[in-house]
């Protein structure tokens, strides 16, 4: 029952704050509501026995990425953009297409309602590993060793790229 309650609470918060993210005029507010969505998704992760990811979600996503967002928003003048039109003129078409998309997605999920039953709270997912963190760690450093290394290149590219784009002009430019 507790699980169900958690799902309802977190799910509602997630959806409502997501809607608020895309309807708010002030982009700072949007960012804060995004934090709401992210935190409630972290809560759902907990309900799904993914404690490690829930922690990462809070620390990296909310604590890192979102703070970066807010930082940039604060860095550049915000006020002016709040006075501009926030929505473009194609929102009707956008709504219709999005409705079709969600219809397609829900249709597929609904079709699988019988097969999609969540198993009992997960038994240790990897043999010989105790907690969820250890399991994720094992997966990361054994089976998924290569992508783990590749991810480092991805981060390097991102760092270099961000610096290149955001650094001040040089004399030659």
């Amino acid at each position: 029952m507790l699980e169900l309650a958690l799902f309802y609470i977190f799910g509602t918060i997630a959806v409502v704050s997501a809607i608020l993210v895309i309807t708010q005029h002030n982009v700072v507010h949007s960012a804060i509501f995004l934090a709401g969505t992210l935190l409630s998704v972290a809560g759902i992760f907990l309900a799904l026995n993914a404690e490690f990811l829930a922690g990462v979600q809070v620390i990296v996503y909310v604590g890192g990425i979102l703070v970066l967002f807010v930082f940039v928003i604060m860095l550049i003048a915000v006020e002016r953009s709040t006075f501009e039109r926030q929505f473009n003129r194609q929102w009707k078409i956008a709504l219709i297409t999005s409705a079709i998309l969600i219809g397609e997605l829900v249709y597929v999920v609904y079709q699988g309602r019988d097969t999609f039953v969540l198993a009992e709270p997960a038994v240790p997912l990897v043999q010989g590993a105790a907690g969820n963190s250890q399991q994720v760690g094992m997966g990361l450093y054994t089976t998924y060793l290569l992508p783990f290394e590749i991810a480092s290149i991805l981060l390097l590219v991102a760092i270099v790229g961000a610096v290149v784009l955001a650094k001040k002009k040089t004399q030659t430019e």
Partner: protein, 636 residues
């Protein structure tokens, strides 16, 4: 010499490279010398190879030289190889021979042009492509030459690119040819798909397997018929048949020797050559053959009737070329490929002669091309006149000259065809009458009568230099004698050329003799009508009496009859030709369709551009729109 086959195309290529790279720094004589010399080399090798081939026993033909495997992918294989048999041997002789003469002629004709070296580089490149086309031993290599000649033709038509009309004409020729090429390339792929090879010998031997490829009866469209129709689309583009002929009259914007070489003697006949080469395929597709015959005949008649009223000396010859090509396809369409190629050969001589003669006239008149403004030139340019007259007699089918024999062979084959043969023959004979009429109209307006130009317009009309007259003389000789290789049985000959090309020696037939007389009568009739119409006008009797007394005397007695005939038949035909066929069908519908297609495509482009609004949201919209459709499609 057969071993040296590869040199035949390579020599002009070398010439093109040398002239293209160093030509700017070389003196003009050297440029012309290199260009003509390389073609002369090819001609000599061709001649030697041809002679050697004749001595080979039948079993060793065709001679095939594979140089390397050009493309190999799985089962797909295309060699870079040449094939020499009677057909391609004859073709290389025509191409290099006429090509050589035109190179020599060009040296005189183009002397004062800027870009002299460029011209010869293009011309040599053309020779390379054309010889590759002719000698190729598979469809794909043939296509390489096919595209190459198109490209060179484009470059040469647009040679005087500072004239907008020339640049446009070049582009039009290229684009229309591409439409034909699409037929060719799809046909090539289908041939591979069907026969597992694109090699001529392999394909032609496999199609003889009657269990796999029975002859598709008329009206069924099987794969062989599809292939043949697609090939014919290609041929129609290159050889200017309805509805893809539109580029040829415009192509006259190019220098006249180019018109003679590419747009009369060689490139435009590539389509006929290709159909003749693919005879084995076409024989299995009577439906496609009928299409070839009908389109060819119709083109012959249609173009000839437009030629009746043209006033530009080169455009008359251009429509005449379209019409003569129609004859060749008519021959192929009734299965008489040999007769078609025979006509191809004689036509190469006399049409090149007529074009070069026209070039000589234009040269002498300082660039004037309107025949209504000429007249009396025979006194100023006696040699041009004499040779031009021989060409005119040859194309009109006057007995004893080359055109007579080959045209007769086609008409006889048409008469004997089982599919609407008599109808084809009738159209052919009318075309012959038209041909004779417009040719002599041209001769009369240009060379006879009073000069219609003033000294103010044209300074000092002069005969052309020897380098231009010698090729004319040689072509004139061939325009007379080339026909004697194919004396029909009805005249006591053996039709050697057709037997040589794999046709059957026709038995002697009195019917053929009668038909021949009819066609001779029609030829003279056309000639006489032209005479009457353009010479025997009330205000000209005195000059008539002096210049062509005998003919005048014969005809003057029938004056009223002819007058009635003029009013009742000739004038309506001319009006019909001018107002309907030329102005309405040719310029209005067909040209209009070509141009309109271009405009529609451009308009579509301008419309589609607006998908690109520059807004991220619109782009996201397209992505999502496509995405939703994808999902629906996958979930169906």
């Amino acid at each position: 010499m057969v071993r040296l086959l590869w040199l035949i195309p390579i020599l002009p290529l070398l010439g093109a490279v040398i002239n293209g790279v160093f030509g700017k720094r070389l003196p003009k004589q050297a440029v012309a010398g290199i260009a003509a010399g390389s073609v002369a080399g090819s001609f000599l090798i061709s001649l030697a190879a041809f002679v050697q081939m004749l001595q080979l026993p039948e079993a060793e033909l065709p001679v095939v030289q594979n140089y390397f495997t050009w493309i190999q992918a799985g089962r797909f294989q295309a060699e870079f190889g040449f094939l020499l048999d009677h057909l391609s041997g004859l073709m290389i002789l025509i191409v290099t021979g006429v090509g050589l003469l035109i190179h020599i002629y060009s040296a005189g004709y183009m002397t004062h042009e800027p870009g002299f070296y460029r011209y010869f580089a293009y011309l040599n490149l053309f020779m390379f492509s054309m010889l590759t086309l002719v000698l190729a031993n598979n469809y794909l290599l043939m296509f390489v030459g096919w595209e190459g000649v198109g490209l060179c033709s484009y470059l040469l038509i647009g040679f005087w690119f500072f004239k907008k009309s020339a640049a446009d004409a070049g582009k039009k020729a290229f684009i229309v040819n591409r439409i034909g090429d699409f037929g060719f390339i799809i046909a090539t792929i289908l041939i591979f798909w069907t026969f597992d090879s694109v090699n001529f010998q392999a394909v032609f031997s496999r199609i003889e397997d009657a269990t796999l490829f029975p002859v598709e009866t008329l009206g069924t469209v099987g794969v062989v018929t599809t292939i043949c129709l697609l090939l014919f689309i290609g041929a129609a583009g290159k050889s200017a048949q309805i509805p893809l002929y539109v580029w040829l009259p415009d192509a006259m914007e190019g220098p006249t020797p180019v018109s003679a070489l590419i747009h009369a003697a060689t490139m435009v006949t590539a389509g006929v050559y290709m159909v003749a080469r693919s005879a084995a395929l076409f024989d299995h597709a009577p439906g496609a053959l009928l299409v070839v015959a009908v389109i060819g005949t119709f083109t012959a008649l249609f173009a000839a009737s437009i030629g009746l009223v043209q006033t530009d000396i080169k455009r008359v010859l251009a429509y005449s070329t379209v019409s003569q090509l129609g004859y060749m396809f008519m021959a192929c369409g009734v299965g008489a490929y040999a007769a078609g190629v025979f006509h191809l050969m004689t036509h190469a001589f006399f049409k090149a002669l007529l074009f070069l003669g026209a070039g000589s006239v234009i040269h002498g008149m300082g660039g004037l091309q309107d025949i209504r403004k000429m007249g009396g030139l025979r006194h100023h340019m006696p040699w041009t006149f004499r040779t031009f007259l021989i060409g005119a007699l040859a194309i009109s089918g006057i007995p004893g000259l080359a055109g007579f024999f080959s045209k007769d062979a086609i008409l006889w084959a048409a008469w004997n065809s089982e599919n609407y043969g008599k109808l084809l023959w009738t159209a052919g004979i009318i075309t012959a009458g038209f041909t004779s009429f417009y040719t002599f109209r041209l001769v009369i307006l240009t060379f006879f009568g009073k000069p219609q130009y003033t000294e103010h317009d044209v300074h000092h009309v002069h005969e052309s230099p020897a380098s231009m007259l010698v090729p004319l003389a040689i072509l004139a000789i061939f325009s007379i004698i080339a026909g004697y290789v194919g004396i029909p049985a009805a005249l006591g000959g053996h039709n050697n050329i057709e037997v040589f090309l794999g046709g059957e020696e026709a038995a002697e037939s009195s019917a053929e003799l009668i038909l021949m007389l009819v066609s001779v009568a029609v030829a003279f009739g056309g000639m006489g009508t032209a005479y009457l119409f353009y010479v025997a006008r009330p205000d000209l009797p005195a000059r008539l009496a002096s210049s062509a007394h005998a003919m005048y005397a014969i005809l003057v007695n029938k004056y009223y009859v002819d007058e009635v005939y003029n009013v009742a038949v000739v004038k309506p035909i001319l009006r019909w030709s001018r107002e309907f066929l030329w102005k309405f069908v040719d310029e209005g519908i067909i040209d209009g369709t070509v141009n309109a297609t271009g405009q529609v495509v451009r308009a579509a482009g301008s419309g589609f551009r607006h998908m690109q609004t520059g807004y991220v949201r619109t782009y996201a919209g397209w992505i999502l729109f496509g995405g939703v459709l994808f999902v629906v499609w996958f979930l169906r």
